[in-house]
């Protein structure tokens, strides 16, 4: 075992496979692999530094790696490589030490043929990987960074390599070949699994879409999460940064020292003891991670070099924080800063302080979503007599439950709660064990980011979702059109047109005597109405106030049920569209009313006029006849002329009445037509200028809402 830990991570990996039976290989087992051998310490000296493998394989934590599949994948392209690979695995089950040798043997064999060496590594990693694993190959740090940035966006490389894993294995060695120059390989960067990545992408897009609508303060949290996710992703995925936080005097430093095995952090009765965070990393390659925490080099330590501990807590970066509740305010600031950056937190409480309001209200409650990356340990149980420790632990569980923190009991995901005493070492082993298991899963960073994402999404909820139906109903649109029609006076115009038409018809079909009388009348006085008709077309024919009101109403309707910023945007769009709408309506109204010219005449009109004329002629003939008789010019015959005259006198009004009745229908049609024309023109104007921009804004909101749904993971799309 000592040899194993001393040599390489390969052996470490073998150690893992030894732990978990390969038949049901879980995703946690060797989820990502550090290919950094320490050549000088290698017992066989089988590897020179130049041979350091630079091919790394990462994998998404999802998927269902079946050992059988993995094994079939392992022999990638050459039998020579596949053979020792299989051996190594077989022996790993039996004995880890032998496995180390087997693997080094395999490596020797591989080194003989240069190509296969790295391929073997790829193979070795893919073996424990799920079949859809996103294998990524890196050259050096800078390259890795660039690559991870590109991969971040579209996962192209991941896709390509997963193709490689499933089908075209031949590509793997060539990819690996490119990468065999670096002396000391940097640790493997973190990889997020598919859903998380797509949620992060969705959040990025969401932030981009919302920038113009929301102030930066609202988006700050989301941007911070994105930045942190991106920053964390570039850093080692093999390390898990765990902070030890707690109140003053709870024994954080003592626990830190107990885990490290040496007195790294100063402990004492003086309160507050620890003033600055101290980091301790169990394996190399965590420097950049610790840099991110802003812990200076003089505060970085290594644990006691004990192979056993190293194997168990491999990849652990432990950070001892100052207290969060002392009178020293800068301590609290430091704690807040670092807590936002670490992957997991161990909250240390003690029997005296476990119910402090500060701890629960300021930290645990807001971080309830981070339960999966939270440990709560009750320290100083040695100060509690007998069963009191259990009582306190139960009470602590109850309080955590009240805080909304899921407790990781009965195998459910959640916070780990345990009692221990850093002073006596009671329970430290258990903590170490569960920490070791936690570290082996290597999911902490992703889970933390995921929890951050959840929290940010939850906080953004009010600006993206109100849980009410949104959109512009058909009635609202119709009502808007009606209001605009009112504004241009469509009804009145229609009515006026109808009446005018009927008036003209009556005049045309009226008895000539009536027309004559009217003409005489009109010549006499000039009524006001006449003058107003002569008035030039007014430049403000549209009722401004009605347009304004219509726009406001429709905007309010559209904005109903929208979160405030989007409602504001809808209103603004409506107001912007409404600028110039009255002028456009003015113009439209003049255009829609003028072209009519002379109103169309119905076909029966000439006949009516003819009938009217004939009636008049009858009257005239009857009259003349009578006159003739009176003068004695003609033979007296009263009957016929009187009859003729009577027919003319009665027939004229009768024809007039008949044609008036007949004109009613066409007049109404004409009026309705005029109204409809105006109404439709107005509605078209309103639609183009107001409704369309509003609808576009609503569409944008809907898009954002969908994006938000994607962020919350409600409807996480594939890929």
């Amino acid at each position: 075992m000592t040899a194993v830990t001393a040599v390489t991570d390969h052996t470490d990996h073998a150690d893992h496979t030894g732990d978990d039976s390969p038949e049901d290989g879980t995703s946690g087992q060797g989820s990502s692999e550090n290919g950094r051998p320490e050549g000088s310490r290698s017992p066989e000296g089988s590897r020179s530094e130049a041979d350091s493998p630079e091919a790394f394989a990462t994998e998404a934590a999802d998927g269902e790696p079946a050992a059988g599949e993995a094994a079939t994948e392992a022999p990638m392209e050459s039998v020579t490589k596949a053979q020792p690979e299989g051996e190594a695995e077989a022996e790993a089950e039996a004995e880890t030490e032998a496995a180390a040798e087997a693997e080094t043997e395999a490596e020797d064999a591989e080194r003989a043929q240069k190509v296969t060496f790295d391929a073997a590594h790829v193979g070795a990693h893919t073996r424990v990987k799920d079949d859809t694993g996103h294998t990524r190959v890196k050259t050096d740090d800078a390259c890795a960074r660039a690559e991870s940035e590109t991969a971040w966006d579209d996962g192209l490389i991941a896709r390509r390599v997963s193709e490689t894993t499933t089908g075209q294995e031949a590509q793997a060695p060539s990819l690996a070949l490119e990468t065999k120059t670096a002396v000391q390989a940097p640790p493997l960067p973190l990889a997020y699994d598919g859903p998380l990545r797509s949620r992060l992408d969705a959040l990025r897009e969401l932030v981009g879409l919302s920038r113009t609508r929301l102030d930066s303060g609202t988006l700050a949290e989301a941007s911070r999460v994105l930045d942190e996710a991106a920053a964390r992703r570039k850093l080692s995925g093999e390390h898990t940064v765990v902070a030890i936080a707690g109140a003053t005097g709870s024994g954080k430093s003592q626990l830190f020292n107990a885990l490290a095995g040496v007195a790294i952090s100063e402990t004492g009765m003086r309160r507050p003891t620890t003033a600055a965070p101290i980091a301790c990393s169990w394996s190399d390659g965590a420097a950049t991670l610790i840099d991110r925490l802003g812990i200076p080099g003089r505060l970085r330590r290594r644990p006691l070099q004990s192979p056993e501990a190293e194997a168990q807590l491999r990849g652990l970066v432990l950070v001892d924080l100052p207290d969060h509740d002392s009178a020293a305010v800068q301590h609290r600031q430091q704690v807040d800063r670092i807590l936002a950056l670490v992957d997991a937190v161990i909250w240390v409480v003690d029997p005296e302080k476990y119910a402090d309001a500060m701890l629960h209200e300021r930290y645990l409650r807001p971080m309830a979503g981070h339960a999966e990356v939270t440990f709560v340990v009750l320290n100083q149980v040695d100060r509690l007599p007998g069963e009191a420790a259990d009582l306190v632990l139960d009470d602590l569980r109850r309080l955590l439950d009240d805080d909304g923190i899921a407790l990781g009991e009965y195998g459910e995901p959640g916070a780990t709660v345990m009692a221990l005493s850093a002073l006596t070492g009671d329970g430290i082993g258990e903590l170490r064990e569960s920490l070791g298991q936690f570290l082996a899963e290597r999911g902490a960073a992703a889970r933390r980011i995921s929890a951050d994402l959840d929290a940010a999404a939850m906080r953004l909820r009010p600006v993206y979702s109100t849980g009410r139906r949104t959109g512009l109903s058909e009635e609202a649109r119709d009502e808007f059109a009606d209001r605009l029609a009112d504004a241009v006076g469509a009804t009145a115009a229609g009515q006026a047109a109808e009446r005018a038409w009927r008036r003209n018809a009556n005049r045309a079909c009226g008895t000539p005597w009536l027309r004559l009388w009217r003409w005489v009348q009109d010549r006499g006085d000039s009524t006001t109405g006449r003058l107003s008709v002569r008035e030039p077309a007014d430049e403000e024919a549209t009722a401004r106030q009605r347009v304004e009101q219509a726009v406001r109403t429709v905007a309010d309707r559209a904005a109903r049920g929208l979160p405030a910023p989007w409602a504001q945007a809808v209103r603004e769009a409506a107001v912007r569209g409404a600028q110039g709408l009255p002028e456009a309506l003015d113009e439209m109204a003049t255009r829609a009313t003028t072209p009519a010219g002379r109103p169309p005449r119905p076909g029966w009109w000439p006949a009516a006029v003819l009938a009217q004329a004939s009636m008049t002629i009858l009257q005239i003939i009857g009259g003349l006849w009578l006159l003739g008789q009176i003068i004695g010019f003609m033979a007296p015959n009263l009957g016929v002329p009187v009859l003729l005259m009577l027919a003319g006198i009665i027939g004229g009004p009768a024809v007039e009445w008949g044609s008036r009745m007949a004109a009613r229908g066409p007049a109404r049609r004409y009026g309705l037509e005029a109204e409809r024309r105006l109404r439709e023109a107005a509605a078209g104007c309103g639609r183009a200028r107001v409704l369309d921009p509003v609808a576009a804004e609503l569409l944008r909101y809907r898009e954002v809402r969908e994006q938000y749904g994607r962020v919350t993971g409600a409807s996480a799309p594939v890929g």
Partner: protein
């Protein structure tokens, strides 16, 4: 007592220990002012001001007024501190038997317990101090069902215990945690501490650097209360070191002269809820007894705290007054926003009336058709409708501006200010009513004018009304209406009618907009934020200062 008072009269720093009715009057007047102060607008400082007011009220009711009224009442020492500091254990040990429950589960003490000598019982059984708390007197240890029942009803309870072991003239009060997870406990603890003659602050070796207790210590210092600190649960191997460091912190905070007692953590009693041996608490007990028995120090302790509270009023009352002033200023800003919006809309409406905006759309079409294709009645109808639309538009625009302005005001978050019901429909209704009323009055005017004319040339009153409405509302567009009117009524009559109608219009316009403005301001007025409360607070303070 008189004798006692005269005796202390000689000691230089004791001033307020005889009963002084004027001072009490001034104090109760001030108390009423404080109780009347309201901070309804959600400004940044409002929660703090509310808390300050409650605290001040509690201190006046629970401590200062009863103390000044009855200086001979027993001294009340309130044991306060963080959760788990061992307050209950300390009280039990001082009394010598288990009066307050102690345990390992936090928070332990949810019901405050007051312990006094049986003969002092009458001082506390009444509502002299802590009038908000229901008294429960449990003779022995059983935790009584009625207590549970009271607790369940949400009533706040004070348990009173008597013990012969306490000297007369001293009462101990075991308060809940000052940093309890249960928010009510925190409030109660603060209130209880305000009622104390002697503040006993308990902290522990693990906690002496905690922020929360230090806040309390600083408050005690500000209030110049008689303060004593107990450093509890100190492991014996580090007693001297911790004690020294704690002393250094106290000195640094300017509390160096505060009596300090150290109680070691004793394994046999610390967690079981048992009693500490008498020797462990002997110095504290002696000190407390000394404070009670020795007249000089008793009065010194009492006077110091009372004086401290009175002194603190000098700073706290202006703070409250300042908050009241801020409330008023915010209310004023909100009102100004409404006034500004309605004023500018009023101006706009007037301007639009002048340009004849009412005579547009439907009304304009009718007017153009009049009289050939449109009757006077129809014209009048559409004009009235158009006028209502103009007014409604102005009101909604004003409301929108108010909303905009208020959105930037934190004070507008007060309930009922912004989340008003969709009053638009009713506004439409009200405006419609008022416009129709205007029309009716205008028609009456027109009838009047027509009636004055000779019957022979009398024209239809409705036509006259329509014409005058057009002339009034149509601005320059309706010049012809004016001409027509003059034709019908004569130049004089037309002018008179137009003038009267115009005055009527302006009146109705003002009234309609004013009504809407008042409706908008009504919820704000209902909050009753007025400038007097600031002045009253300051005045009450100055009266008190004069009395001292």
């Amino acid at each position: 007592m008189l004798q006692k008072a005269s005796k202390i009269g000689h000691s230089s720093h004791v001033v307020t220990l005889d009963v002084r009715p004027q001072l009490l009057d001034a104090l109760s007047a001030l108390r009423d002012r404080v109780a009347a102060a309201r901070f309804p607008l959600p400004l940044a400082g409002a929660p703090r001001a509310r808390a300050n007011r409650d605290e001040l009220l509690a201190q006046l009711d629970d401590y200062l007024v009863p103390r000044l009224r009855e200086p001979e009442a027993p001294l009340l020492a309130v044991i306060g501190g963080s959760t788990g500091a061992g307050k209950s254990t300390l009280v039990n040990s001082l009394v010598g038997r288990r009066v307050s429950e102690a345990g390992v589960l936090r928070p332990t003490t949810r019901t405050p317990v007051l312990v006094c000598h049986p003969e002092d019982h009458h001082w506390f059984s009444g509502m002299r101090v802590l009038p908000d708390l229901t008294r429960v007197w449990v003779p022995h240890q059983e935790p009584g069902d009625d207590l549970q029942a009271l607790m369940e009803r949400g009533e706040r309870v004070l348990r009173i215990e008597t013990a012969d072991t306490l000297p007369r003239g001293l009462a101990l009060l075991d308060a809940p945690d000052i940093d309890s997870l249960v928010a009510d406990n925190r409030v109660l603890a603060a209130e209880l501490i305000c009622a104390a003659d002697i503040w006993v602050m308990v902290t522990t070796a693990a906690r002496y650097a905690d922020a929360v207790p230090w806040h309390l210590l600083r408050t005690a210092k500000e209030h110049k209360a008689t303060l004593v600190t107990v450093l509890d649960r100190v492991p014996h191997q580090v007693v001297s070191e911790v004690s020294r460091q704690y002393g250094a912190l106290l000195t640094k905070a300017g509390l160096g002269e505060v009596p300090r007692f150290t109680v070691p953590e004793l394994p046999e009693s610390a967690w079981g809820g048992g009693l500490l041996p008498a020797t462990a608490v002997a110095p504290l007990r002696t000190w407390l007894v000394h404070q009670t028995q020795d007249h000089g120090s008793r009065h010194a302790a009492m006077a110091r705290t009372a004086q401290g509270v009175l002194d603190s009023l000098k700073a706290r009352m202006p703070e409250l007054a300042g908050a009241a002033a801020a409330q008023y200023a915010a209310a004023l800003r909100l009102t100004a926003a409404v006034d500004g919006a309605y004023d500018s809309e009023h101006t706009r409406v007037k301007g639009r009336l002048q340009t004849g905006a009412v005579l547009s759309g439907d009304a304009l079409k009718r007017w153009r058709a009049y009289p050939l294709d449109c009757t006077a009645g129809e014209l009048l109808d559409s004009l009235v409708e158009s006028l209502a639309a103009l007014l409604l538009c102005a009101v909604t625009a004003a409301d929108e501006r108010v909303d905009d302005a208020w959105r930037r005001e934190p004070a507008s978050g007060a309930p009922g200010l912004t989340d008003r019901d969709p009053t638009l429909e009713s506004a439409e209704h009200r405006i419609g009513m008022s416009v129709r009323r205007w029309r009716r009055v205008l028609e009456e005017y027109a009838e009047d004018e027509v009636g004055r004319l000779d019957k022979s040339v009398a024209s239809d009153a409705e036509v006259v009304a329509a014409l005058v409405a057009t002339a009034l509302l149509g601005g320059h567009r309706a010049r012809n209406a004016g001409e027509g009117l003059a034709e019908r009524l004569g130049a004089h009559g037309a002018l008179r009618l137009r003038e009267r109608g115009g005055r009527l219009l302006a009146e109705y316009l003002d009234r309609a907009l004013h009504t809407e403005r008042e409706r908008r301001l009504a919820p704000l007025d209902a909050l009753d934020v007025h400038p007097e409360s600031q002045a009253e607070l300051i005045a009450a303070l100055s009266v008190l200062q004069k009395e001292r």
